[in-house]
């Protein structure tokens, strides 16, 4: 019975102890760091005692690498599963493989000998739904039936996705990267990286992508990888009990997520370093790289795309570039931000409106409606009918003689002469013009529908739609440029670079480093001229998270005294005295206010600061004392000193709470410039800071006050900061 009881202990509710944090609160980075140092020191000193202790200390040191290995394995496996399932389900909308139902279109026709050069996609084993149900492959009736079934499948997938999200794990919706950024900066969102969220996110991501909606899976893959990270953290007490160390593991897990999304381990590490991580000690650099490598290697062994490729679109360069082409590169880099803005500020305006609008109140209906419209408009255009990754892959391909795509319908003249640079110049055939106007329609459609898609209550990323917009626009641009530049058809290299500059990712040879840098640097300058926020920072602002960006510069000349609370008309600061407050007073204080902590002073007359005590610690300690200690009643005195105060014997037993008192709170004087205060908050990860003058306590500045002040200085609405 006892054994079974112990095994089933994980079912019980975890007992809240003094060191855990409440939901939607910020952690205390300094406390976590000092606890980790204590733990490490204890293990090191014990390791000298016996061999077993030495082994335990070695295991403790290696546990970090073991966690990275496990994260890489699981992320790679899940990414492979997602890729395979998406491949299959996307094709399921159009038809089914008769020989083995689990094969997608390409896999079904893999061994077939009946593919022809022009119709290289067709084979008898894979049939469209109309052909399967009615026996007719061509004709208006078959087209209508295929169209109808396409929409039906798309609706089914998205309805299933949004229902699963709603019933099992509402935190699985959206991309996840803004919340992960906030979590890594020290915020607690319980359940956001939980097991159910992991399961539901993986399952519904496949459904959402397969339903043909204009969203990507790269952002959600980062969320999935971080959930894996959180899962394996709970196996080791070194990480499960320490929120600071846990976040080191999570930044490495984010790197693994991007690595499997793009097949670029180094890109993953750089993304984690630049976008997601907050504190990034150099020792996690190698661990992130290790996790990213393991994940990429695991994905490769599952081999989802065949040909040992890790991503569907693979950019290869065979032709050199010319000096004159630098000009269009730079021009296109400059145009990147306005085009990106057409996607993202559209969302900024739309998303707050959605909250009040009816569409926001019926998330399931919203998803179904958007899916229906997307499927309805996407089917007729062959470029939007297929999945976005396949579209990018087709736009990226070099038009050699072997391609049969319409985009490559250049007239092949076998008798033409080959100039010195070995690139034949070919005029465009009718297929190219056809493709160009279809692509233009696809571009407009994609821009509009992506604005409505991002923000729905299903997993969605926006890397792929952004890339698609860039790739389409670039291909159109180069297609039109073909006419102007007299058949120099190697200009599609320009659009490849542009679409990559849209993201800043690059897996190409060094040969193209100069045009790419030119485009990327121009793009960054233009983007910064428009405004410094990326899409993720904007969403963090929208949600009101207490995220103090390390990159924001504070250049105003305000002082600490301008920001601290209490202001002139506010009630005085709520403090505790070191030995004259009763338990009842403390309880009243806790009940009447909702502050997260209280300063402790010597007495109300001399307001000299002793320390700071957290609200949660106080509540738990008093509750424990009332239950467990004898003689503690409402009129017992609470004291924070080492020795009990001198009281008459008739008084009830006093309660010593020194152990929950933080004797080293951070203080600044009232004339400290706010620039310094913001820097302190940022670099040390503080939650609050006390303001003193001549040693006397004057007020308190919390992180929320700092954020509100910065928002005010930048003329934003200071009331939009919601959490503390």
């Amino acid at each position: 019975m006892n054994g079974a009881g112990n095994l089933m202990d994980f079912l019980d509710e975890p007992f809240p102890d003094v060191s855990t944090y409440e939901d939607f609160h910020t952690i205390d980075w300094l406390r976590e760091k000092s606890r980790d140092t204590d733990r490490h020191r204890k293990i090191t000193s014990k390791s000298k005692e016996s061999l077993w202790e030495l082994i335990k200390s070695l295991l403790d040191a290696w546990s970090g690498w073991v966690v990275m290995l496990l994260i890489g394995l699981l992320s790679g496996t899940l990414a492979g599963v997602i890729d395979l399932a998406v491949d299959w389900m996307t094709d399921l909308k159009e038809g089914v493989c008769l020989s083995a139902f689990w094969y997608s279109h390409e896999q079904c026709c893999w061994t077939s000998n009946e593919t022809t050069f022009d119709d290289r996609d067709k084979c008898p084993q894979w049939q469209k739904w109309a052909e399967l149900m009615t026996g007719h492959a061509e004709g208006a009736g078959a087209y209508v039936l295929n169209y109808f079934l396409y929409i039906l499948w798309a609706l089914l997938f998205s309805f299933l996705a949004v229902s699963l999200v709603r019933v099992f794990a509402p935190y699985a919706c959206g991309s996840g990267i803004p919340e992960i950024k906030t979590i890594l900066s020290g915020f607690i969102i319980r359940g956001y990286l939980g097991k159910w969220t992991l399961l539901i996110k993986t399952v519904t991501l496949v459904l959402a992508v397969s339903s043909g909606l204009s969203l990507g899976k790269e952002g959600p893959l980062v969320h999935v990888a971080c959930c894996c990270g959180n899962l394996f953290c709970s196996l080791f007490s070194k990480y499960s009990k320490n929120e600071g160390k846990r976040r080191e593991v999570l930044s490495a897990a984010a790197a693994a997520g991007v690595s499997v999304a793009f097949g670029a381990p180094i890109g993953g590490v750089l993304f984690s370093l630049e976008e997601v991580s907050y504190y990034f000690p150099l020792k996690t650099l190698w661990r992130s790289f290790f996790a990213a490598l393991v994940a990429a290697f695991t994905l490769r062994s599952i081999n989802p795309f065949g040909n040992s490729r890790l991503v569907l679109f693979y950019v290869e360069y065979h032709t050199p570039w010319y000096m004159a082409e630098l000009v269009p590169f730079i021009l296109l880099g400059g145009l990147r931000r306005p085009l990106g803005d057409s996607l993202h500020p559209g969302q900024h305006r739309l998303v707050p409106a959605e909250e009040d609008h009816t569409a926001g109140k019926y998330p399931v209906l919203e998803v179904i409606a958007v899916t229906g419209i997307t499927a309805l408009l996407a089917y007729p255009n062959p470029y939007t009918r297929r999945s976005t990754s396949e579209l990018i892959s087709e736009l990226f391909n070099d038009c050699g003689a072997l391609e049969s795509s319409q985009l490559c319908d250049y007239v092949n003249n076998p008798n033409m002469s080959r100039p010195v640079d070995d690139i034949p110049d070919r005029p465009a055939g009718p297929g190219v013009y056809n493709a160009l106007w279809q692509l233009t329609l696809a571009l407009i459609f994609k821009i509009v529908i992506t604005i409505f898609t991002f923000g729905m209550k299903i997993p969605s990323g926006l890397f792929i739609p952004s890339m698609a917009v860039g790739a389409i626009a670039g291909r159109i641009g180069s297609g039109i440029a073909v006419e102007q530049m007299a058949y120099h058809h190697h200009d599609w290299i320009i659009f490849k670079n542009w679409s990559a500059a849209c993201l800043g990712e690059s897996h190409r040879r060094l040969e193209y480093i100069v045009p790419l840098m030119a485009a990327a640097v121009t793009s960054k300058w233009v983007a910064d001229a428009f405004g410094k926020e990326g899409i993720y920072e904007s969403h963090i602002l929208l949600n009101g998270y207490p995220y103090l960006d390390v990159r924001d510069e504070f250049t105003h000349r305000t002082l600490a005294t301008d920001v601290m609370r209490p202001r002139r008309n506010d009630p005085p600061l709520a403090v505790l005295t070191q030995d004259s407050t009763t338990v009842e007073d403390v309880e009243t204080l806790i009940k009447d206010t909702d502050y997260n902590g209280f300063p402790v002073v010597v007495s109300r007359e001399s307001e000299r600061l002793i320390g700071f005590v957290q609200r949660r610690d106080l509540t738990l300690a008093i509750k424990n004392a009332r239950q467990k200690q004898d003689g503690v009643v409402s009129s017992s005195v609470v004291y924070f000193t080492e020795d009990a105060p001198q009281l008459p014997a008739s008084n009830p037993q006093p309660l010593k709470l020194r152990r929950i008192l933080n004797l080293s709170p951070f203080t600044v004087t009232d004339h400290t410039p706010m620039e310094t205060v913001v820097d302190i908050f940022r670099k040390l990860g503080l939650r609050q800071c006390l303001v003193t003058r001549s040693g006397r306590l004057l007020g308190i500045i919390t992180k929320k006050d700092v954020l509100r002040h910065m928002a005010q200085m930048m003329n934003q609405d200071p009331e939009s900061i919601m959490f503390n």
Binding site: F168, G191, W196, L199, T298, F454
Partner: protein, 189 residues
């Protein structure tokens, strides 16, 4: 002490799952006859149409001379024709695909069944229990919480009752999450 047991149990479970996954991967990599191919694409040449050849060859034999059969051009032209053709060696693992898709479909099916159970069957079973909450948004779950807390104190020791307790707690958590995401419209992305 019980924490230690629970922790090593979870560690063992995680290790078993990982080993199982690795086994699946290794098993799936076993090549079957159909899983390798050499694909040669030959473009139109003079008056011959373009053709795609799919044959089951090993990597060293994957070139135009072995795969393109029957050769559509006479002997002296073979070299010129083969220079235009492009041959690629590809391999895949059909077992991996099969296993993955079937596992995925079973997971989706299981979730679907559980969802239907929670939405339809569960409220009928629990119609007479005072502290259970239906799965739609509750505006004032604050009132329900003291009741739920007092009943969760009376925790039984049998496995079934503990599972019940865990499930109730999980439902409460999901409800909180739902309120945060759907009602207050935070966490928009």
């Amino acid at each position: 002490m019980s924490c230690g047991w629970g922790r090593s149990w979870m560690f063992a479970a995680a290790a078993v799952v990982t080993v199982f996954l690795l086994d699946v991967v290794v098993f799936a990599r076993a090549k079957s006859f159909e899983d390798v191919r050499c694909k040669c694409i030959c473009p139109p040449y003079r008056n011959i149409t373009g053709h795609i050849y799919n044959r089951n060859f090993s990597q060293k034999d994957c070139n135009c001379l072995h795969v393109v059969e029957p050769m559509p051009v006479p002997g002296h032209d073979v070299e010129a024709y083969c220079l235009l053709c492009e041959c690629k060696y590809e391999e895949r693992s059909s077992n991996t695909i099969k296993v993955t898709i079937i596992i995925y479909l079973s997971v989706v099916g299981a979730l679907l069944l559980y969802m239907l159970f929670l939405l339809l069957v569960d409220p009928l079973i629990r119609k007479h229990d005072p502290y259970t909450q239906p799965l739609h948004n509750e505006e004032d779950s604050e009132e329900m919480r003291p009741q739920a807390e007092s009943s969760s104190q009376a925790r039984g020791n049998t496995v079934l009752e503990r599972v019940e307790g865990a499930q109730q707690r999980w439902k409460k958590q999901v409800q909180e999450q739902r309120k945060t995401v759907f009602d207050r419209h935070k966490l928009l992305s």
